[in-house]
Every structure is written in structure tokens, then in C-alpha cells.
Symmetry: none
Subunit: 305 residues, 2 copies
């Protein structure tokens, strides 16, 4: 049989979802005049009909409830109620098939709803790209180093600084000694203290942020295990990194600076790193996490309910 339903590439129809129009055409000749009017309305605007009661559809088609029910029966449903459910499904199906035009850049005059859709789509894309491009061997090595580190220093400036703080905050929560450095001078000063068994993590999208490379270089020279989280694995920062974790570089637009999407990518990498460490230190991490929840609980006012 040759189904040439052109609206969807998925003509799959176990009960009778998308093949409704075809069914109407097939059965139309065996219908009476009134029933044809109903069937026509149903096939022409499934979504609209799904919103109508049996009485409403009868009025719309200038027929009676009885006729509507008869038509539903002829189309293979137990009654109008079930036809209506099928129509609702069909409507949703059609709407989803309508390819969302979210691949375009965000423009100045985009309505706010489009901004939300495009942004969410882009971020999802960034996540997928990052996950696909992440070297799990490098990640595993980084996790191993961090899980057993005496102390962990994180360097990041600008947008990356927040990512670094996020990482340090979480590592602290599971009982590790982690610190995020924002001030480049203090970062270098502290890096001097590092030695073998310590871990230094530099976060920079461009891979060439001097303020971040410098402390990492010092840590590297001191014998610490160094990790770079960067979108440019071939950049200068990698020179001083034992392990390089690559973030993806999403497309940017005038309204959406690179810092925005790189942050999403960086956060995913950082979260993976964190969870990996939490797994390895589960014995101590789990109680530490519970403890921090409880400590916070009293800071929340009781809910209204």
C-alpha cells in the first residue's frame, strides 16, 4: 500500500492517529450527505473539531448529535468521545511536525517567545555538542586527580569566574578543600603554595586568558596536577595542563555573546567533573551533602501550603 501522507515522515498509525484524512476519503462514498459534512469538517480542521462538543460539531456542520455520533462510529471509533481524543492527538502531532524555525540567529526584533525557544534550542545544542566532544579518558584522569587531591585551586575570570566558583562551591560541599580564585594576583600568589598532589584547574573559553594561564603555569611548575577547561584545546593554556577538557564553541550572534554559550558548556563539564569526584568519594560525599541540606533547611521559611 502506498501511503503518501506528505505532512509527516512518520505515517505510523496503530490506532488511527494520522491516517484520519485518508480514512475519511476512503469511507466518504459510503457516507450519507450529513455524515460527509461532518467528516469533512473533521478532516479539514482536526484541532478545531477537537475543541468542540458533540453538540458544537453538530451545529457547526448543520446536523444533529446523532449524525456526529454515527460518523464517529463509521470512522471506527466507539463514539464521539473517542474520535475527539484521537483528534486531539492528531492536532498535537501536526503541531509538532511543524518544524520550529529556531535555527536562525536571534534577531533584534524577535518576539520574546521566539527568543526563549531559540535560546533553549541553542543551549540544548551546546550541551549535546559538549557531551559528544568531551574526552572521557581525560575527564576520568581529571576526576581521579581531583578526588584524591590535598587541595584544589580553581582559576577563572570574567564569565568563567562564576563557573569556577560554582565548582569550588560544590566541591566544598562534599568535604574537599577547594577554592576559586577571582583575583589574578592572589591566584598566582596562592599557586606558589601548590605542590605534587594538589590540583589546579583553569577555566577559560578562549584558552588564552593571561590572568588564568599565569597561575596555572605556576602550579604546573610547582608539580601540581593541572587541568584546563577550555574551548580552544590548542590554545596557550594547554601548554601547562596535564589534562585538557574541551568545551564546545557554539555559534554566537550580536545579541548572544560567546560567553553565554560557553558558560553552558563549561558548567556541564564542571558538573561531570563534580559528579565523578562525588562518585569516587561517595563514602564521605554522601553524608556531607545531606548535612549541608539540613544546615540550610532552617533558612527556608515554612511554606504556605
Amino acid at each position: 500500500m502506498t501511503n503518501d501522507v506528505k505532512e509527516s515522515f512518520n505515517p505510523d498509525s496503530p490506532p488511527a492517529p494520522a491516517a484520519l484524512a485518508a480514512k475519511v476519503r476512503t469511507l466518504a462514498p459510503s457516507m450519507t450527505r450529513s455524515m460527509q459534512r461532518v467528516a469533512e469538517a473533521v478532516a479539514g480542521d482536526p484541532a478545531g473539531c477537537a475543541a468542540l462538543t458533540v453538540t458544537g460539531l453538530a451545529e457547526l456542520t448543520g446536523t444533529s448529535e446523532a449524525t456526529v455520533v454515527r460518523t464517529a462510529r463509521l470512522l471506527g471509533y466507539p463514539g464521539y468521545r473517542d474520535l475527539r481524543l484521537a483528534l486531539a492527538g492528531l492536532a498535537a502531532h501536526q503541531q509538532s511536525g511543524r518544524a520550529p524555525a529556531v535555527t536562525a540567529d536571534i534577531a533584534v526584533d524577535d518576539p520574546i517567545a521566539d527568543v526563549v525557544a531559540k535560546l533553549a534550542y541553542d543551549e540544548q545544542q551546546t550541551l549535546a555538542d559538549t557531551a559528544a566532544g568531551l574526552d572521557t579518558v581525560q575527564l576520568g584522569a581529571a576526576v581521579a586527580a581531583a578526588a584524591t587531591a590535598r587541595r584544589i585551586d580553581v582559576y577563572g575570570v570574567g564569565a568563567s569566574s562564576l563557573v569556577g566558583q560554582d565548582l569550588a562551591q560544590k566541591l566544598l560541599r562534599i568535604g574537599l578543600i577547594a577554592h576559586a580564585h577571582v583575583d589574578p594576583h592572589l591566584a598566582v600568589t596562592n599557586a606558589v603554595q601548590l605542590r605534587s598532589g594538589d590540583v589546579a584547574i583553569a577555566i577559560t573559553h578562549s584558552g588564552s586568558t593571561g590572568d588564568v594561564i599565569e597561575p596555572l603555569r605556576v602550579a604546573f611548575d610547582r608539580g601540581a596536577t593541572t587541568i584546563a577547561i577550555t574551548g580552544r584545546p590548542d590554545g596557550p593554556v594547554s601548554q601547562y595542563a596535564d589534562h585538557v577538557l574541551t568545551t564546545s564553541t557554539a555559534r554566537e550572534s550580536e545579541l548572544r555573546p560567546a560567553a553565554m554559550s560557553s558558560r553552558t558548556s563549561q558548567l556541564l563539564v564542571v558538573d561531570c567533573l563534580f559528579i565523578g569526584v562525588a562518585q569516587r568519594t561517595y563514602e564521605t560525599a554522601a553524608p556531607a551533602l545531606s548535612a549541608s541540606y539540613e544546615a540550610l533547611a532552617h533558612r527556608h521559611t515554612p511554606r504556605s501550603r
Copy 2:
């Protein structure tokens, strides 16, 4: 005849097409026990529930018809009939897209590659849920207020503080006067300065973080336009918010605290807010953005290769 084909991307907030699962999670905490049972059944097996009458679903969940109707109302539908139609749509929707393979929670003994895949998937899901559940009208109003604000104060503590800093950082970049407050005492002290024409933004996942609610309340009392970004739109924080932007509540596990996925959701909302504001202030925002790029350029060492 009047065909009212609704083909806008995000028709309106009351009926939720695919965002149902997210909506259930968001609203679940504010539900009573019986209603939670119903909501759980609905979210767990939309297709199955779509086949049930109100009586059937009441029996299945061991509750009464009244409770089922109440739940449907809470989820934003006029009654059970409409919820059922939406469920039918959702079921059809789900059937078209194949079931994802990475729905399991992250376990302690997952290999690192699985962690990456699951985490990325969860985050993507969180983004989709957030985008679907975001009220664009509220967002638009928030954007309008922020774009014309004399000054913008952002409150957030803990994980949300980083989100707040991110927002403030970006708004500063396009020439707005924005400040992220981390210290609750200073936040209140500063909130006293606010007045009509100013904007205060509180970020709290739980919706009941006293340290964040307090400054927002003060700002609200002073006549500033207040915005709450929260996962609990029915929480105490909303009392003092002119506009509530809802973040989605993703499932959490022992290794993946709620703070982690809420952060993703919050960042998306914040980014949408930012871009909305950037659109509205494009004349000044665009040059400001370019200027900040150039100012940063010399901080990057020329790349190797």
C-alpha cells in the same frame, strides 16, 4: 466559516502541550497528598490516563472524582475533560518521538561516559521544560521593566547567587546599572534606597529563602518593580513579586542535588531576560557590547599556531 487554526509556537499558558510533566513537577509540592497521587499517575502514564474517565482515574489513584477535577484545575485546565484531551495530545506526541534511553538516575557506579551522557540529557530536558513552562507575558513585562529601570538590584544566595552575579554582569555590560547582592544584610540596606522606576530581582529555587525574600519585600514596599525567579511560583517569595518567572524543577538524585538542575533552568531564564533587555535597548547595548569585547581583547595573549 471561521477556521481558528492556532499555529502560534507557544499559544498561551493555560493549556500545556508538552510541558505537562514539567508542570506537574513544578506544582507537585503545592499539591495535597491525594492530588499528588493523581498528578503522578497522569505524569507517569499520559496515554493510559487519557483512556480513563474521571471515575476511572479516581479509582485507579484511590481518590475521588472531585480530587481528579481539582488536580486538573490546578494544572491549568478548565476541567478534567480538557486535561484528558491534552493527555491524548501528549500521548501522540510521545509516541512520535522515541523513548530516550538515558532516563535512569545517575548511580554511584556509573562509568564516567554514562555520567556525561545522562547529565547532558537531563540538562537538555531541564532546558526544554523551562522553555515550555516559561510565561512569556510575565517575561515580557519583566523585560520591559528592566529595560527602562533606573537601577536593577539582584538578590540571590547560595547557588542562586552565581546566577544573580551572571545576570548583573551581563546587564552592566550593556550599560545598565545593575548590582548583584550576595550579603543579605547589605541587600536589605540597599533595597531601602529603591523606589518606583527601579527593579529588584530575587532568585530562589525554593521560593522560600528568607535572605532573598526580605530584600525583595523591602523593594516591593518602596514601590520598585519586583521580579521573582523561582521554581515555586506559589511560594512566599511571590507575595512580593510583581512578575514571577518560573524555573522548572528537574528530578534530582543523591549525586545530583536540586541546586544543579535549578541552576541550568535559572540561567536560561536569566539569559532570556537579558536578551530581551538587550533587544529593547539595542541602540545603546550593541555599542556597549562591542566596546567590552575590545577592552578585553588585549588581556588575551596571541594564540599559538
